[in-house]
Symmetry: D5
Subunit: 98 residues, 10 copies
Amino acid sequence: MLFAVRMTVNLPPDMDTDVRAATLAAEQEYAQRLQRSGEWLHLWRCAGQYANLSIFDVTDNDRLNDILWGLPLFPHMDITVTPLARHPSDIRVTKIAS
Amino acid sequence: MLFAVRMTVNLPPDMDTDVRAATLAAEQEYAQRLQRSGEWLHLWRCAGQYANLSIFDVTDNDRLNDILWGLPLFPHMDITVTPLARHPSDIRVTKIAS
Amino acid sequence: MLFAVRMTVNLPPDMDTDVRAATLAAEQEYAQRLQRSGEWLHLWRCAGQYANLSIFDVTDNDRLNDILWGLPLFPHMDITVTPLARHPSDIRVTKIAS
Amino acid sequence: MLFAVRMTVNLPPDMDTDVRAATLAAEQEYAQRLQRSGEWLHLWRCAGQYANLSIFDVTDNDRLNDILWGLPLFPHMDITVTPLARHPSDIRVTKIAS
Amino acid sequence: MLFAVRMTVNLPPDMDTDVRAATLAAEQEYAQRLQRSGEWLHLWRCAGQYANLSIFDVTDNDRLNDILWGLPLFPHMDITVTPLARHPSDIRVTKIAS
Amino acid sequence: MLFAVRMTVNLPPDMDTDVRAATLAAEQEYAQRLQRSGEWLHLWRCAGQYANLSIFDVTDNDRLNDILWGLPLFPHMDITVTPLARHPSDIRVTKIAS
Amino acid sequence: MLFAVRMTVNLPPDMDTDVRAATLAAEQEYAQRLQRSGEWLHLWRCAGQYANLSIFDVTDNDRLNDILWGLPLFPHMDITVTPLARHPSDIRVTKIAS
Amino acid sequence: MLFAVRMTVNLPPDMDTDVRAATLAAEQEYAQRLQRSGEWLHLWRCAGQYANLSIFDVTDNDRLNDILWGLPLFPHMDITVTPLARHPSDIRVTKIAS
Amino acid sequence: MLFAVRMTVNLPPDMDTDVRAATLAAEQEYAQRLQRSGEWLHLWRCAGQYANLSIFDVTDNDRLNDILWGLPLFPHMDITVTPLARHPSDIRVTKIAS
Amino acid sequence: MLFAVRMTVNLPPDMDTDVRAATLAAEQEYAQRLQRSGEWLHLWRCAGQYANLSIFDVTDNDRLNDILWGLPLFPHMDITVTPLARHPSDIRVTKIAS
């Protein structure tokens, strides 16, 4: 099941530099593990902003919630979640247009 | 080059039913042609809304503009466009996390 | 899987009264069928507004999408969808508080 | 009488960890006491966000106010309150559709 | 129990003048009946706008909902509802300041 | 002359507790003095929020301004001001409905 | 007593041209009468928009309300009203800066 | 050339009191110098808010920019700027109403 | 003097096709005349939207107002205007960075 | 390919003055280097605000992203990005008006 998630990061300007570096490294490792497992399907940078648009493929809402709460950067994020469904014009679906 | 485009459709309630059916059919044909050509990479329904989230892979802004202005439903759409860039945590990019 | 859905209805002031009555009757029949099937778990009126807050229990996003697109009043609705997950303080879950 | 309450939590990033842990524990205990008493009817996590959607069943506005002001996390919350009423399509109400 | 309700009226510019006059007269009669019954406690014009701020004293949410849905102008209104509670600095309450 | 004023209080989480207690006590004393003088006509808590809805009866804008700037909590408040006028359906006014 | 009022005009595109011309002429006559009487102190065009910023000098809220409801264009206007007070740095007031 | 400028001041709660007093005094002196020079035409307090509405009469955009950037309180201000033009109903202009 | 102007066009869906074509042709002729005169400095399409971002170089606010009110599409436009000034980092200005 | 970028700067009031001066100098040097290279096409001050409107001419989204993330002030900026396309009324394009 697919979800579009937009994450906007607001790191405190006075964040300890070591803590910052460790958190970013943990975030990358976490994100790449989930990409390799296939749950984090797409991860794009919103050009020019400290934000990303991601597509998740997960079993259900609870799994999505656990993944996002597990993000090392979660406490510094504004997150919006859009559940996605098959679109009738998706060539894999070929039903009457949207 | 990738763009995330969210299209929200507002059809006039008193739209002529034949015009409506023809426009929707033209919209589907248009969308599926561009999916087959590879420019319309993803087309997802925002669950429960007359809106979709699409990802386009196009040469430049002008091409994106031409595609969106060419949508049969364009006059009835609110559209937001987010240019996407490679994310440093994208396993195909493997740079320091976002 | 649970979703909170807020539906705000905007009927055109000049809607044909017969069409209006038939649509409202179809809407009630549709809503009550889904309540009896258990998918439409809760249906509350937002006091003083032509809007409702509903909780759906469905298999996945696509099913939710089909249900909402099937609403007779769908063309006259503004809909927001919030996917819900188990809360750690839910006495059925008993984990560390929110 | 039912109220839908959405609570978004914004904990200061530099909150003392002991104070934070004690506050979260107190929050859980408080929430579970009210769930057992029946006033806190539903408590759902808004998937992927530090927010919950709750349904309260209370005698009146003043009781709701006292409950929410009593939340240990109250000083760190943005709260919206929607009073709910019986919906005519609620199968327990069976009046003309919404 | 008190509620603050703000009603903004948007009458269609092309509304039939007789229908308009009849609706406004019915609205006044309805509002004055409820003022005399004591449920419609205060009715103020928001200066310079086709909007009013009203305070209702009703038994519960359902009664408030019935009153507002019964307004002849209801189909042409945007309504926001704020449940009110006793304020600790209200001299009739004399508790620790807000 | 009447004004509706909504005050939302945002106290800094790390405010000195003594300063906080003194400010709140001063706020209560100030509010109750103005209620007894008749200028602060109504003071209601917006249920579940650190906000109040107040109605002031003052000679003019300058007097309202002086009162609000004199609030001990003023530096921690977001304030909106709505000037009120007689409503034609107010039974004390009995003119053509709103 | 001063009020800042911003008026944004939205004339229906299909408004009868004679009605439109008559309304605009009545609006000008009305505005100029009030300017000559001194109540409509300033009337500026918000450059590039069908909107104006006006300053009114009136006895009280009710008078302002009557003036604005009397505008021939009132049914086609979005209006915001800001009550103004003396500013401490106004050289006619010469008190401690804002 | 006229501009309407709304300035909302957000002073940090923990601002050093001496710095605060000096900044406010400098702000008053600055504002009064420009009022005497005629460039700062009007300065009104938005009643009940730490904000003002000002009208500037300046040669061009660059001069306005220099004036506003020169405000001692500038770093603590949210500023919106509305360029003003002659209104056709301004009795000094006497053209077709707005 | 420079202004950034964003124009969003909302043509009524049921606009007469001849009127529409004539208006668009007049709009193009008007825009190109002003580009040739040098007042309409830049005219860019906001990709994927019926909107443009334009830069005007005009003598003053009144001239800008006359130009925008003269647009054949003006009655169908939402317009925002941002007065521009020299930026200290503009290599033609070479002052301390923004 | 052109992008319009609006950058709003929010420097922390308690930012170390040396760090601030160094960052601003680095920002200017960075901006002027990119203007000389031709990628930063226009840089205008939004009059009266700590914000600028810039036009970039870059190869693609990724290049834009790298440029903006490279801004020394990036951590203190709110940025919006609007991809631009050729406008049919641009005299260099001479197609049917917008």
